[in-house]
């Protein structure tokens, strides 16, 4: 489903070149739950950005369901991201002036789904996530756990094949964190692939596969070894 072929990334700061990510390859199948762990600044978000089609690698290739991401033009890549990739962020990144329902409608609005369908699907998702009575609330009127559930509903709005999550449990209490992890497992069971960047050992231990990044170098580890490695 997702093939990452020897991608690497350098950043140039003045005369200095920083090797953010050494050549990395992965082959990720449908329905897998992948955790990427590593210290801050190790290149985790860089890898996630490249997989998401938002940061072109210096070399290598990323193929998602047969589409080589960086061989597509910007418009095609944006479209593919909209249809096949869902993002979940640590700080939720909800649009502050839209209510919960409108935030969930957003990816569908960008796709061009008609308003009635947008509203129907967004309502259904929010109800499934227990936010049926919070649909008219702005993000600032919701708790962190509720905001993350709205963000989750937005991620799922387009039924993406691939979900990229950047520290999605970082700002949550243990109860909210556990419900998010359970939701991820359910989604994987339904065939959606999840790649998650985390510092949380409990989260990475529940993943199917774990990749450890250290100073730009990626190494796959067994989930049970993670606590020692992280």
């Amino acid at each position: 489903m997702l093939e990452i072929k020897s991608i690497c990334k350098d950043y140039t700061r003045g005369r200095r070149t920083v090797h953010a990510l050494q050549p990395t390859s992965m082959n990720i199948g449908k329905g897998q739950f992948i955790a990427i762990v590593g210290p801050s600044g190790s290149g985790k978000s860089t890898l996630l950005s490249m997989i998401g089609g938002m940061l072109s690698p210096k070399s290598g290739q990323i193929v998602l369901n047969g589409h080589s991401l960086y061989e597509l033009n910007i418009k095609q890549r944006s479209r593919l991201r909209n249809e096949q990739i869902g993002f979940l962020f640590q700080s939720f990144n909800l649009v502050p002036y839209l209510n919960a329902l409108e935030n969930v409608q957003l990816p569908m609005a960008l796709y061009g789904t008609n308003r009635a369908n947008q509203k129907k699907q967004a309502t259904q998702l929010l109800e499934e996530l227990g936010l049926g009575n919070r649909m008219d609330h702005k993000p600032c009127e919701l708790s962190a756990g509720q905001q993350q559930r709205v963000a989750m509903a937005r991620t799922l709005a387009m039924r993406p094949n691939l979900i990229l999550a950047d520290e999605p449990t970082g700002n949550l209490d243990p109860g909210s964190r556990d419900s998010i992890i359970q939701a991820f497992h359910r989604l994987c069971a339904e065939g959606q692939t999840i790649i998650l960047v985390t510092h949380d050992t409990a989260v990475s231990q529940s993943a199917d596969r774990v990749f450890q990044i250290n100073e730009g170098t990626t190494r796959e580890e067994s989930p049970s070894e993670v606590s020692n490695a992280a």
């Binding site: 418009k75 991201r81 649009v95 957003l106």
Partner: protein, 416 residues
């Protein structure tokens, strides 16, 4: 939901942020609409006055300056009535009518008014203060005072035979054919205010007069006056044979221009001006106002543009995380720039509409009050004002929109 509704929601989330841009656009459009409309109306008024007054010349006492043709006798200075004789004797080319006037203050039913003495056309050819002229005028054509201007149809101010008995013809021709010594003509506004009608008896300057006619409204100072025979006014006011102004009606513009030099030479102690010269000040004021309005509008466009650009750049900087998130969710760069430009269109439209409303109001209020013209706002001005407002907003927002479209979508991953 659509990108459009999202843009509007964003804009009204904190309207204060866009208020400066709104206001500058509105002020620019207000200035454009108000000044342009007033100037255009003023130009139309001048053109209409020139058309109405034709090729007239005013002979005024030396040192008199005036800006209104209809108040040409209201300056308090005088000159000898004998000047009329001189003009007649000179038999200048193209002179169709002469209308000497003397205005004096008077009292009518306890109200201060102006009584203007005029010389009816018949008296001009009969007995007058310049008796010696009789011999000369006897041989002239009854339709002109000077000699005929070659190649000119003439009769721009002549009283038509049918109008000779109609005293109200003064409103358009500036002369009356006949006026008895005890007759009065009353201006429309004065007649209305005092309830005067034809046939009424009035006491003015201590003498009894009979109202021979009510003049039709002209929208000029004539509407508030009383007209009587010149020699009767001179006698009652004890002024002697003087006048404040002599109107010389030329047959055409060319003849009028030629007459200025002739009359200047003939009356070295008087000031001779044409209608164009009288209106010149107004024309110049109009031109200056028009240039000023364009200059003000240009400055406001620049300020408005800079302000909008600044607001938009700040807006894009403030929304970096949000815009990065939208890109992560699948928004293309063109969608992002469209969102910014839509906001610009909204600012331009709302600011432009507010400016239009204020500009139209200002034009209707300020025109009559400060410039003395009834203002009309043209649809062209309205469309131009709105289009310019939107265009400036869009052009000023183009660089921020471009910047937004080229934001790094990875911004969505960075913690605030």
């Amino acid at each position: 939901m659509s990108i459009y509704t999202m843009t509007l929601k964003e804009m009204f989330r904190r309207p204060g942020h866009s208020l400066t841009a709104f206001m500058i656009v509105a002020v620019g459009v207000t200035a454009l609409i108000a000044v342009e409309s007033i100037v255009t109306s003023s130009e139309k008024k001048v053109a209409s006055q020139m058309q109405q007054l034709g090729a007239n010349i005013l002979v005024l006492p030396e040192g008199v300056t005036l800006h209104d043709y209809h108040s040409a006798d209201a300056h308090g200075k005088s000159m000898p009535e004998e000047y009329v004789t001189r003009i007649t004797l000179a038999q200048a080319v193209g002179v169709e009518e002469l209308a000497p006037k003397l205005s004096v203050p008077a009292d009518l039913k306890g109200q201060a008014i102006v009584v203007t003495g005029i010389l009816p056309r018949t008296d001009f050819y009969k007995k007058s203060a310049w008796q010696s002229v009789d011999l000369l005028t006897a041989g002239l054509s009854p339709s002109a005072i000077g000699t005929k201007h070659e190649g000119c149809g003439g009769n721009s101010h002549q009283i038509a035979a049918a109008d000779k008995a109609d005293l109200s013809s003064y409103a358009t021709t500036r002369v009356v054919h006949e006026l008895d010594m005890d007759a009065l003509l009353v201006g429309a506004d004065l007649a209305k205010a005092e309830g005067i009608s034809t046939g009424d008896s009035l006491t003015v300057l201590g003498a009894n007069f009979q109202v021979a006619g009510i003049l039709p409204a002209t929208g000029t100072s004539d509407d508030g006056r009383v007209l009587a025979h010149l020699h009767r006014v001179q006698e009652l006011a004890e002024t002697g044979p003087i006048v404040n102004v002599i109107e010389v009606m030329g047959c055409c513009e060319e003849a009028a221009n030629g007459l200025v030099g002739d009359l200047d030479e003939l009356l070295p102690d008087a000031r001779v001006v044409t209608i164009s010269q009288i209106l010149e000040t107004q024309i110049m004021v109009n031109q200056v106002m028009k240039r000023l309005s364009y200059a003000i509008f240009g400055i406001l466009v620049l300020l408005g543009g800079a302000s909008i650009a600044s607001v938009m750049f700040a807006n894009v900087a403030e929304r970096r995380r949000e815009l990065g998130t939208l890109m992560a969710l699948g928004a293309t760069p063109s969608m992002i720039s469209r969102m910014i430009l839509m906001k610009a269109v909204a600012i331009g439209s709302i600011g432009g509409l507010c400016g239009l409303a204020l500009g139209i109001l200002a034009a209707y209020v300020a025109g009559p009050r400060f410039v003395g013209v009834a203002t009309t706002v043209s649809i062209e001005s309205v469309i131009a004002g709105l289009m310019i407002a939107v265009l400036v907003a869009v052009l000023a927002s183009y660089p921020p929109a471009r910047k937004a479209a080229h934001l790094d979508p990875c911004l969505c991953f960075q913690d605030a």
